[in-house]
Subunit: 201 residues, 2 copies
C-alpha cells in the first residue's frame, strides 16, 4: 500500500496481484507471439483484467514490458553479486555460460529482443533501462573486477567500463545480430581473449 | 539489362533508375522518419513511382531497406580492404574511429538501427544480412588480421572469428544499447584493450 493514498490494505493487495499478473502476462506473451504482435488487449486478456486497468498504470506496451523486466530482477533477489572464487577467468566463464543458456532459452530470448529493440529506437527508454537495469548490473560486474584488482589479477589502473564492454559486448552483439553460434565454448574463448589479449604474451 | 529477359536496353535503364530512386528514398526516409513510420507509400511518393512498382520487386519495407544497404555497399566500390600500414593497432583505431563517426551521423544512425532491429527479429533477414553484408566485411577484417599474423604482430593460431568479435562487438553493442558515449576515445581504448588484454602484461 502506498503511504498516504488512502488505499485500504486489501485494495493494495489486489492491486499488487493484478500488477504482477499483468507483468507476467506481458513477459510470457512477448515470448510467445513476439513484440510486434504484443498488444495491450492481449496482455489484458491473458492477465484477466480490463484494458483500462493497464492504461491506468502504463502508457504503452513498451513500458509494461520494461516493468516486467524490473519485476523479474526484483524477484530474483534484487541483483545478486557475481561469483567470486578468487579465479576471475573461471568466474567470468561461469557467468557468461549462464548468460548464453538464458539467451538460448526461447522464454527469455523473445522478450529480451523486444526490450533491446525498443531501447535501440527509444532514447528515453534507453535512459531508463540504463539507470534501472544496466547500471546496477554494471556496478556488480565492476565490483567483481575490483576484487580481482585487489588480489593483483587485474592492474589497478584498468578502465573498468572498457573492461565490462570488452567482456560482455561481443556476446550481446553476436546474440542481437545472430552473427554466429551462441555457445558456451564461444563464451569461454571471449573471456580468455579479453583477459589475455589478441597479441601473443 | 538482365540477359534473356527480353527487356529493351532503354527499359532496363529506366528500371535501374527507378530501382536506385526507390532504394535511395527508403534509406533517406528511414533516417528522417524512423523505421516504424517508414511505409511503402512514403517510399513510392519520395521516389516518384507507383506503389505497385515497389511491390513488384520487394515483398516488404524491410526487404527494400536491406537492398538499399547492399546498393550503398556496391556504390562505395564493393568492399574496400582495411588499411594496412604494417601497424595493426593504428589501422584498427583509424577504422573504428571512422565507424564511430558513421554511427554518430544521423543520416546513417537511423537506417542502420532500423536494419539491425529487423535482423534481431527476423532470422531469415539475419541470414541474408550475414551472407551478403556481414560475411564479406568479416572476410576483409580477417584479411587484415592475417596480414598482422604474417609479420608476427598476432599469433598464428589466433581464432580470427573471436578476434573480430572482440574488436568490433563492444562498439556495436554500445551503439545499439546506447549504454555509454560513442567516441573516438572509446574506440581507441577498446582496440588497445582487445590487443593487450585486461591482465597486466
Amino acid at each position: 500500500m502506498k503511504p498516504g493514498t488512502g488505499e485500504s490494505p486489501n485494495a493494495a493487495r489486489r492491486s499488487d496481484t493484478s500488477r504482477r499478473a499483468i507483468l507476467r502476462a506481458a513477459f510470457d506473451l512477448a515470448g510467445e507471439v513476439g513484440y510486434g504482435r504484443l498488444s495491450i488487449e492481449g496482455i489484458a486478456a491473458r492477465a484477466g483484467v480490463g484494458k483500462q486497468t493497464i492504461y491506468r498504470w502504463w502508457p504503452s506496451k513498451g513500458a509494461v514490458l520494461f516493468d516486467a523486466f524490473l519485476l523479474l530482477a526484483e524477484d530474483s533477489g534484487g541483483s545478486p553479486a557475481l561469483p567470486d572464487s578468487g579465479d576471475l577467468e573461471a568466474d567470468l566463464v561461469a557467468v557468461l555460460r549462464a548468460t548464453v543458456d538464458e539467451l538460448n532459452d526461447p522464454r527469455y530470448d523473445a522478450p529480451m529482443r523486444a526490450l533491446n529493440t525498443e531501447i535501440t529506437h527509444d532514447p528515453e527508454l534507453a535512459r531508463l533501462y540504463s539507470e534501472r537495469l544496466d547500471e546496477p548490473m554494471r556496478a556488480l560486474k565492476k565490483d567483481r573486477l575490483r576484487s580481482a584488482q585487489r588480489i593483483g589479477e587485474l592492474p589497478a589502473d584498468l578502465d573498468l567500463d572498457v573492461a565490462v564492454d570488452l567482456i560482455w559486448g561481443p556476446l550481446m552483439n553476436r546474440w542481437m545480430l545472430r552473427s554466429g553460434g551462441l555457445t558456451g565454448d564461444f563464451a569461454e574463448r571471449i573471456v580468455a581473449a579479453a583477459l589475455d589479449g589478441l597479441r601473443r604474451r
